[in-house]
């Protein structure tokens, strides 16, 4: 977890105040990281696809903050913030994006396909929505083993059209599994707008068809995401079955950094930028009596430092050795496998 910051100078901050300042720090760190990544991509220091989650930070922050150690999280391809929130070192994340040996996948895959199972963050594939059956399987394990954990699966409204998503939700509903489905509805599947993707208004409506509740919240309002998550996660953890939270949001940048997103109306982008989750939360903190200018300065300094350290670490890290192309394909045979003796060699012959 990143060190708590922002409360310095407050007279004995209450746990709630510290928590809120921590949330603010996380959103700021994720934004700073995202912006630096976009810049590094323009500078050709990050190759391959970069899928910015800028504008969607309140969702990953609000969903992940109430989670516990050991909860299984399957982020979608834009959820840089999930990795940061779950405790993955920003430096390793940056090394992953630069294809370095020290990255999560040791240079095997780009961007967010490298997972970190030490933190129970599962790496997605590019087949969007295909992580949902996997998260459901993790939840099945938790239920079978009476573990106190839950699985969380993020997906976009774009992926919600895929069969994997329906198969996963249906099975989770049948078995009342401890899984939270989180739809980040950012209104575009690459270039395809919402109205060409579905005939209904809310993805959350689908939950009812699978026998559990769907909730809708503003994905640009951290407090709204947090409020519904805290309420819902407790129920999921208590064994009341799955839940779906749909967070309405907007993707600031194109589908990837290669995409200028000219298919969108400029006015629409401006409208959504005016609903940015970070100033919105700053306004809240200010209303609560914080010196937001001072806190912002402190936090900007800290996040810049963390991001710079990550960049330095990644840039100094070695590229993988070419021979590693053939490594990490197979786990070595489990020790429990009993070696077969040659004496059985003709048992099979007819």
């Amino acid at each position: 977890m990143p060190e708590t910051i922002g409360a310095r100078g407050e007279a004995e901050p209450s746990p709630r105040i510290e928590y809120e300042l921590q949330l603010y720090y996380w959103m700021k760190l994720i934004r700073a990281f995202e912006e630096r990544v976009s810049r590094l991509h323009r500078q050709n220091k990050i190759l391959g696809g970069v899928y910015s989650g800028a504008g969607q930070e309140a969702i990953v922050t609000g969903i992940c903050a109430p989670l516990k150690d050991g909860d299984f999280v399957a982020p979608l391809h834009r959820d840089m913030g999930v990795f940061i929130m779950r405790g993955v070192e920003p430096s390793r994340l940056m090394a992953q994006l630069m294809g370095k040996e020290t990255g999560l996948s040791r240079g095997k895959d780009s961007f967010l396909h490298g997972g970190d199972m030490e933190h129970f963050v599962f790496g997605s594939t590019s087949m969007l929505g295909s992580s949902l059956p996997v998260a459901v399987g993790a939840a099945l394990k938790f239920k079978m083993k009476r573990d106190p954990n839950i699985a969380v699966a993020f997906f976009g409204e774009g992926a919600s059209s895929r069969g994997d998503v329906h198969e996963a939700m249906n099975f989770a509903g049948v078995h009342k599994l401890p899984v939270l489905f989180v739809c980040e509805n950012n209104r575009y599947a690459y270039s395809t707008p919402l109205e060409k993707q579905m005939a209904i208004e809310d993805v959350a409506d689908r939950a009812e068809a699978y026998g559990f509740k769907g909730h809708v919240c503003s994905g640009n309002d951290l407090l709204a995401v947090l409020e519904v998550t805290e309420r819902v996660v407790d129920k999921v953890r208590a064994g009341e079955g799955p839940a779906l939270i749909e967070c309405k949001t907007y993707r600031y940048r194109g589908h990837s950094e290669h995409d200028a997103a000219l298919y969108r109306d400029k006015e629409e982008l401006i409208e959504w930028e005016s609903r940015d989750p970070i100033p919105r939360f700053e306004f809240y903190l200010e209303k609560k009596g914080h010196d937001i200018k001072r806190i912002r300065e402190q936090i900007d300094e800290k996040t810049n430092q963390v991001v710079q350290q990550a960049v330095d670490y990644a840039e100094q890290s070695p590229l993988p050795d070419p021979k590693e192309a053939l490594e990490d394909l197979y786990a070595s045979p489990a020790a429990s496998v009993t070696p077969s003796s040659n004496s059985n060699s003709n048992h099979g012959a007819r």
Binding site: S130, L329, Y330
Partner: protein, 326 residues
């Protein structure tokens, strides 16, 4: 005690579930019904519904959920009711499971078994007769096995369950109740990646697996008797990783190789084996590497069509004699 191939699978599942409480079963109709072919019969009664799970008709979910449980240390054995349906789970196997360890930098494992009842000769027609193994044998990160005997059906399934990687286990439906063997009781495994010589010989090598081992051995015995030809029959048992040493050793020994499989000719693993031999054992060859396989069409329903399409003992005999005379 004499057992059938399907019973060997059933026994392996019982024993492995008893041995390791992290082994569980998931698939369509596997619990109450005991599976469409009864491979999972008795498991529900023995281990309860938490470990023997009937699923909706959702192949992607079945494999995907298996993957999710496997990365957390479980050892799921999931069933495709027919191997033909594995296409519905293709993405989960090929993109999700096979790349999992690679994209996690070697820091995750997926000990999953996908059982796939495959093969023709049971009047199954287009969608209950397929041999889709070649879709998977070129996918790094997977293992693919195809037992041809009762002993291997048990031993390879146990190895697959204990392996730390995703294994696709092709079991041949025609063998389920058509072959019986004296099956030793208790625990034994058959190693993945090791082929087995079923009949020694010096005149010609016949390389096969799964459903065509039986007809191949029949043909080998006929030519031995009628033509005095000593055919060496190599049963691959594992298709990925291929036992290259065993393939090259028999090719070098006899100098003539016939590859037989029930999968269709074009793109079947026979082509890969032929290439392997021509690359590494060319100097030892006394003739062309030849193949007998299903015709390049779908497995049709009506008996005269199905019989024309599938390889049988007569086609193998003809090919052996042709190659021996070369």
């Amino acid at each position: 005690m004499e057992q059938t191939y399907i019973k060997a699978i059933n026994i392996a599942l019982h024993e492995e579930m008893r041995r390791d409480e992290n082994v569980f079963i998931m698939g369509e109709d596997v619990a109450d019904l005991g599976g469409a072919f009864k491979a999972t019969e008795g498991l529900l009664a023995a281990f309860g519904e938490e470990r023997v799970i009937d699923t909706p008709i959702s192949e992607a979910l079945i494999v995907g959920a298996g993957i999710g449980a496997a990365v957390l240390g479980m050892r799921p054995v999931v069933e495709m009711q027919f191997a033909d349906f594995i296409s519905c789970a293709f993405d989960q196997i090929v993109n999700m499971a096979a790349t999992l360890r690679y994209r996690h930098g070697g820091k995750a494992a997926c000990p999953l078994v996908v059982r796939a009842p495959s093969g023709a000769g049971v009047h199954g027609a287009l969608f209950h007769s397929q041999n889709p193994e070649a879709w998977f044998t070129r996918v790094p990160g997977l293992k693919v096995v195809a037992p041809a005997t009762v002993y291997d059906a048990k031993g390879l399934l146990k190895s697959a369950i204990r392996d730390g990687n995703p294994v696709v286990y092709f079991e041949h439906k025609r063998l389920y109740r058509s072959i019986k063997e004296d099956l030793p009781e208790g625990d034994f495994t058959v190693p993945i990646g090791v082929a087995e010589i079923r009949k020694e010989g010096g005149d010609l090598s016949l390389i096969t697996y799964g459903g065509t081992l039986g007809p191949s051995l029949d043909a080998a015995r006929i030519v031995e008797k009628e033509d005095g030809l000593a055919v060496e029959v190599l049963d691959l048992r594992t298709l990925l990783p291929l036992d290259r040493e065993a393939v090259l050793a028999t090719a070098r020994k006899t100098g003539k190789v016939l590859i037989v499989h029930e999968d269709r000719l074009t793109g079947g693993i026979g082509g890969e084996i032929a290439a392997l031999i021509s690359e590494h054992a060319f100097e030892d060859l006394d003739g062309p590497v030849r193949r007998v396989a299903a015709l390049d069409t779908h497995v049709a329903f009506s008996p005269p069509l199905e019989q024309t399409i599938l390889p049988d003992t007569n086609r193998i005999l003809e090919a052996i004699r042709g190659l021996a005379a070369y």
